[in-house]
Symmetry: D2
Subunit: 387 residues, 4 copies
């Protein structure tokens, strides 16, 4: 790839940011409130727009329902457009109602299953209003104790709800099915791994696609293998990017293991799936529990950009040649050459060419936005997970 092509690819890259990253978050032990945190969806979108303003590659904001429910989603979409961004993926939430103590769509109680399905269908209504393409489904459903419920019956219930939701989708809409090893369910999780999500998507149809949340795997899982495998199968719909040392820590993407992020982006580039029309949606899903949220999002976007730039710099001809020759050290060396390159000057140049400040973190810090929202957003209820 020529350096011109690399720069063009970096300029064309798109990363979707989550509305909830700008609200308060924490652990079961404590949610530390931060100054200036948004009190409503509009303020979240305003903050997200800052991230795009300084990086130029994050023009889309995911919503989470009911956290971001408003009376008029068309009006919210207009609000976003005024700030230079647009509404993206709609995230369903069937884990916070008291009714969902023993599950939502897999609950043994049919009344509760109907209620959960109703919420999923409502989310499609919202997609119609916002013009969103993607419905993202993460189910916290599962059990805490062996025997608590029937593993197989829960799969039947899950399949039924997914089917009904899929049928409701418009021709241009997609279902993104997320999996997660554990938490908040502690014994059984009904969609625990990519294989489960993949098997359900196969039965639903081509617009059902798997989401890889990089923090949702068992220790030792080779995530880039899953990326490559799902791309080969045409079933990788999206990423929820974040990073972790232990469980689903939801740290900034690239913070815990930048080499892993590079390997993931290498598979993306390898499969020519970086293109916006590839069908892979690159989203962030993180919790900035102790760090300020807007700069943490900017840093996260930059981390993805840096990993992408390195992946684009891999000398694919040399790599293929070394692989074909069985040259273990040589092939590994080609990959490491790209990884060890300092791509920050290249990205600074890409930003300048796009009319942006070469240093988004510094530019945001200088802008006074953080101080302004801290001063202005006084009173009201700060946004959060409402757990």
């Amino acid at each position: 790839m020529t350096e011109t092509d690399v720069r063009a690819a970096l300029r064309a890259q798109r990363i979707e940011v989550p509305s909830w990253a700008y609200g308060n978050s924490g652990t079961r032990f404590k949610v530390f409130a931060q100054p200036g945190v948004p009190r409503n969806p509009e303020e979240k979108i305003a903050d997200a727009a800052q991230v795009h303003a300084y990086t130029g590659v994050a023009p889309v904001v995911s919503l989470h329902i009911p956290w971001d429910r408003v009376d008029d989603f068309g009006k919210l979409a207009s609000y976003a457009a005024e700030r230079g961004v647009r509404i993206g993926t709609i995230n369903a939430n069937v884990f916070q109602d008291d009714d969902y103590r023993l599950g939502s769509v897999t609950n043994p109680d049919p009344r509760i299953r109907r209620k959960a399905l109703g919420h999923l269908l409502e989310c499609v209504d919202i997609m119609d209003a916002t013009g969103s393409r993607d419905l993202k489904l993460w189910f916290s459903d599962g059990t805490n104790y062996p025997g608590q419920d029937d593993i197989r019956a829960r799969q039947d219930r899950l399949a039924e709800a997914l089917h009904a939701t899929y049928q409701r989708l418009g021709a241009d809409q997609r279902m993104l099915l997320e999996y997660k090893l554990f938490e908040p369910a502690f014994y059984l999780t009904d969609v625990p791994d990519w294989g489960t999500a993949y098997a359900h998507c196969l039965k639903l149809g081509e617009r059902a696609q798997v989401v890889i949340d990089t923090g949702h795997h068992a220790p030792g899982t080779n995530i880039e293998f899953i990326v490559a495998f799902l791309l080969r199968e045409g079933r990788l719909g999206a990423f929820d990017f974040n990073s972790r040392f232990y469980a689903d820590d939801d740290l900034m993407v690239g913070a815990a293991d930048p080499f892993q992020l590079f390997r993931i982006m290498h598979e993306i580039v390898r499969a020519d799936a970086l293109r916006v029309d590839s069908g892979v949606n690159f989203m962030l899903d993180q919790c900035h529990n102790i760090e300020p949220k807007i700069p943490a999002q900017i840093r996260s976007v930059m981390n993805v950009q840096e990993a992408t730039a390195k992946a684009l710099l891999v000398d694919t001809d040399a790599l293929a040649a070394a692989q074909a020759a069985g040259d273990v050290l040589g092939a590994n060396g080609v990959l490491m050459d790209a990884y060890n390159t300092d791509v920050r000057p290249l990205l600074a140049q890409v930003r300048e060419e796009a009319g942006l400040d070469p240093d988004p973190m510094a530019a945001y810090a200088r802008s006074g936005y953080a101080e302004r929202i801290a001063a202005e957003r006084v009173g009201g209820q700060q946004a959060g997970w409402g757990a």
Copy 2:
């Protein structure tokens, strides 16, 4: 051991229950409230007294400060005594104040460190008032990102706070230092493993002892080894019992891996540390997020009893002989013989001899207590973690 000795040991066993197990708990995603949950320390103690009433081996209740702070701890102790139980370990909480976002005793800010130390010292004041022997210290302190703070400097600060607190203890009081692999800190935890807790205890003095929370280890950790090692060193002060499949799931002890609990109790029996005067405090520390709390505590106590009974039934002579002979299958077989024994009839007999119902779960269910508290405890603020 004769069967008479086994029964005597089971009758003499003591398990301490945590006041907070009776309040609401949950995950970062949701706390599901339950009917009848206590609204104050007195109601928690009343519930704990139920567990003792039906099991006969749980006469002590741990308090958590500030969750259980009252104006008059002497009065609370009297209240407990009236219900047939007494106040046990005092648990400090230096993780829920907004000031502790970057740590408590290891915080880079000396003002916050002083505040945290002040709380620890206050807990000793409370111990004086309640007559508690043990101060349990768990620090959530750590960092989320590499570089966020200096690993070594934090150890210096930790040592300083532990020293000041230890100095404040009375001659009959002990410090129990707990370790935990991760959560809520996601990169560095300042007391992440038994080795760290042990090293600090060594420097403090003999009344500083290590607490093993069974859910606080990395995957693959051989917990019974740690039990045996700390007993050999005279540094095992207490257990926080619970069970887990993944991280710190805080499920009922014995629910996830009953064989592991048996192996732990085998090391306890092996070292003659089941005795109340052994210095090992057997405590529960669990979260009954989705199951009713009092019966979950009763079941947990019974699970510890069953594991203990099996451990007491190990044919130690046959085991020693097979071990000495290098008979791998024989020695393992002796242990498994005890584990595979159904000890429920034996425990039913022990209970009947103590004037208790042989089936604590059924007896509690019949008692109507659950229905009564659900009806009576209306209004007010249910107890919880207040995260």
Copy 3:
């Protein structure tokens, strides 16, 4: 299920034993030779026949090619029949030739891929000769370093080899595809999880089925979920039973976590898949590195029987009722009641009804077989992995 039905199910159960369990095995650090170890396939079969003689449920022996290659497989089958057992699954080995350093069917070198495929096809020839139904494929293929080879190209090569092999199978023959998290490949494993095996099987056809080796998962994996899921999909072909605390330890099944084995067998019974005609082949795959091999196999068979008996004793009506009612503790309690039952007397009775000694371990020990083979099998080359 009535007790009569339980006993009948236990009598009808079938467990297949591996020829290689009777040979020497070890770790990369050391293979400890044992006295009396077989020197050829006939002696392995003779040892396997002992396991069946004392348990009555293990009449089938898996072979491993080339370790068990003989000139005349028909003669070997007759030899087995004379000893009361028969030849079962044929296991291919494409990991021990020097050519396979960088992979077998996924090797970048087409010559080596052809050689590996040739071996797979030869194994089908052997199946024709032995009358075996199942071809078991485990591929050690993978890479040790990022970049070493192309993840996706290796999947293409894998699919091609599987397709060619599947085409060669007779109408009554099956392909069993095994997955494994890691080892001996240390970065990428080409079939690392059940999802990968399942996806390939789907494309091959109905006689391609997934094998679950209980030791081949990441920490924290809920294996019984995979069992239930594959049964629901009609894609669970077989188990390789063993147990582990850490990685692929290949300890005796049920030795590390007997509760997990029970949960697995509960899913089997739940799906009525214990029947011999269910299509699920229950095999052992273990390494008795330090313990004597024949009694270790007997113990392993007994461990599976005990877990099965407990699973058969689950009060399914009570379980279903508690699950439907959302009674978390009640439903868990029903499962635990069965698990906590001592089923050894029941199994002793089943054995006596079948004309067997109620205590297989003791009966084998008394038989003098171990002493006889130690005395007779002198000279020659003991069987092993030949690593």
Copy 4:
């Protein structure tokens, strides 16, 4: 640190290479032989000398007894000196004799314990002959099954053997005690973690020090914490460097997680422990199962150099200021700035200043050494682990 100081530190760095890395190695499944592999200790030393010739920082070679046993160690030392290197740490091996099936120094059989101790003492004799400072002890001792042996008694036996060995050491000699989570023992490992090694070292005396093998931890372990903690305690004696994705994979250091290696070296630099006289011995311990061994060692040395260079470039003043200010993103950013720097030009310059080729890999490849040893080393028995 000035750039001059950084270059000086890099020039002064010393990394010790293991003789066994040049012999064949593999997994329990297969050892793939490579052309040109040494047949004796002299040839191993000759290969090790190549690594030093091209990197300039690896002048010391560890020996492994009995793999490297020779009649005249003084002569071997002279041989090494002639090739520009010297003999370093002596590694004891008490895991490959048939007697050690159930353990060496912790074996229940006192005869075998005496034999194992005899070997440890013999290793000190060899140290006297070679002038080695360090005795490295790694014990594979442990058990595969619960109950197989007594956990506590094994600690007593371990303590006794360590004491006897420590007493035998000369005043300038040290004992380095290594820990390992598991393998080859699969249930209990007698020295499983740093805490155990540390506790034993404390009782022995100041010349007993802990060895951190970077591959010997449970998933999720924060290794740099252990580094920092042991440095604070004055008990970090050495590293065995390698890398891993899963278990003890023994891949090239820095290959699996280069960011982790950087964090480790950051703690080293933080504690001023890079200096040769710091008492920390930086050793490699790797298995080049599928890649050529000499270039793999060169690459490994370079990986340590690169991580070290980045650690030396950390702006410590800025880091301390951000940490003191509680600036989470700022402090992390200072660390990442150093990590993201491409230090290869700097290291090339350091090499040129030392009269070396700036590209050690290319220089070695051009040298023809690999072809020469492949041609010359024909016949004889290639060195390996002899498992």
